[in-house]
Amino acid sequence: MAEESVKLLGYWGSPFALRVKWALKLKGIQYHYVEEDLPNKSPMLLQYNPVYKKIPVLVHDDKPLAESLVILEYIDEEWKQNPLLPIDPYERAKARFWAKFADDKCVPPVMAAFSKKGEEQERAAKEARENLKTLESGLEGKRFFGGETIGFVDIAAGWIGCWARMTGEIIGINLIDAETMPLLDAWFQDFLEVPFIKECMPPQDKLLEHNKEFHKILTAAST
């Protein structure tokens, strides 16, 4: 399969682009990667994603797709090896539910804790911790959301562990509490140890520096 037929427009520091990289890696799909300069988006990106003008965008045989969870489902349906979603409709519904929950309820308060200050930050951190605790219940005591192996929710939400920890380090507030969320904590660690997951992660020190800079900009803006 020609590498040119699959293209991914992404950003090295974006967890949403990372999700797509993980899915493509899991399925052994060759692709051409295009690094976008986000303050200076390419005409190609704007043409491929006119609605949101964001990365990631997957382009397959010149047909573009945006929104990372939509892209994950497409990848799963187009290439059937190493399935992300389970076969049973009820299990699939649960997987979609938890991936959506992670995006709608976990990511925003983690981002808010990262970018706000004072009371707003404390409230966001509290909400992040509560919702992460709820996410833990979705694991149902399993090692991964996908069971013994990585699945849809793991790829959708596994990055949050790394980013939340980094955020916690930068803002000085712990978001993932190993005592109150032992299973979630273990899951995040196990996830990051899976070889193909680890291989695709951006270099941690570079990411930390980048996020520290980003944090300075955001908190200066909110004064």
């Binding site: 609605v51 797709l65 009820y90």
Partner: protein, 228 residues
């Protein structure tokens, strides 16, 4: 095999109506439970402990929450009258636009109709901005519809059902608030689609009464942002 399908919903909610529309399209029998959202039942809280919201579909005792997740579950469980196309790219496209409608359109429409309270001079400008935003969003949907009869092609599909907020509720919001958004001159295709959509039997039978909905909206949100 005896099958039990329950739907927990609210009469005015486009989200629970979506679930009923999909079940009706596929000819699936179900029992409907009307929830008083100011006084949620123990059953609802048991079946949707995470969000405590309607709609919830309960199939043989197993609950599914979040309307778009429920629509996909319905399509995968009952294979007659599919609401998603077979082609993965077309499926992804339908999911993309359904997400777009839920994440972008409803809140923008609401803001244009009932917005926030602003001091007089600011109100006019903010209102115009809100209306312009809705216009841009509707234009994207108008472009996506192209020459198709429905978003799903020749028959109603998942995206049409997800767009029930545009196909029916938008018109009701407009009437209740006096704000004009979906005009025929700007959005002829979308208007034609809306007319076709509400005529489909499975859809028509599942629309809340217009007057009742208008009265409820005016009561809950006030008279609306129409320019005086």
């Amino acid at each position: 095999m005896a099958e039990e399908v329950l739907v927990f919903g609210a009469w005015g909610s486009p989200f629970s109506r979506r679930v009923e529309m999909a079940l009706k399209l596929k000819g699936i029998e179900y029992k409907y439970i009307e929830e008083d959202l100011t006084n949620k039942s123990p059953s609802l809280l048991k079946y949707n402990p995470v969000h405590k919201k309607i709609p919830v579909l309960v199939h043989n005792g197993m609950p599914v929450a979040e309307s778009l997740v429920i629509l996909e579950y319905i399509d995968e469980t009952w294979k007659d009258h599919p609401i998603l196309p077979k082609d993965p790219y077309e499926r992804a496209n339908a999911r993309f636009w359904a997400k777009f409608i839920d994440e972008k359109c409803l809140s923008a429409i609401f803001k244009a109709c009932w917005g926030e309270e602003y001091e007089h001079e600011k109100a006019e400008i903010e209102h115009e901005k809100a209306v312009k935003e809705v216009s841009e969003l509707l234009q994207l949907l108008e472009n996506e519809l192209k020459e198709k009869r429905y978003f799903g092609g020749e028959t109603v599909g998942l995206l049409d059902i997800a767009a029930n907020t545009i196909g029916y509720w938008l018109g009701v919001f407009e009437e209740a608030s006096g704000v004009e958004l979906l005009t025929r001159e700007k959005f002829p295709k979308l208007c034609n689609w809306a007319n076709e959509f509400v005529c489909v039997t499975a859809i028509k039978e599942n629309l809340p009464p217009r007057d009742k909905l208008i009265a409820y909206l005016r009561n809950r949100f006030g008279a609306g942002n129409a320019s005086k």
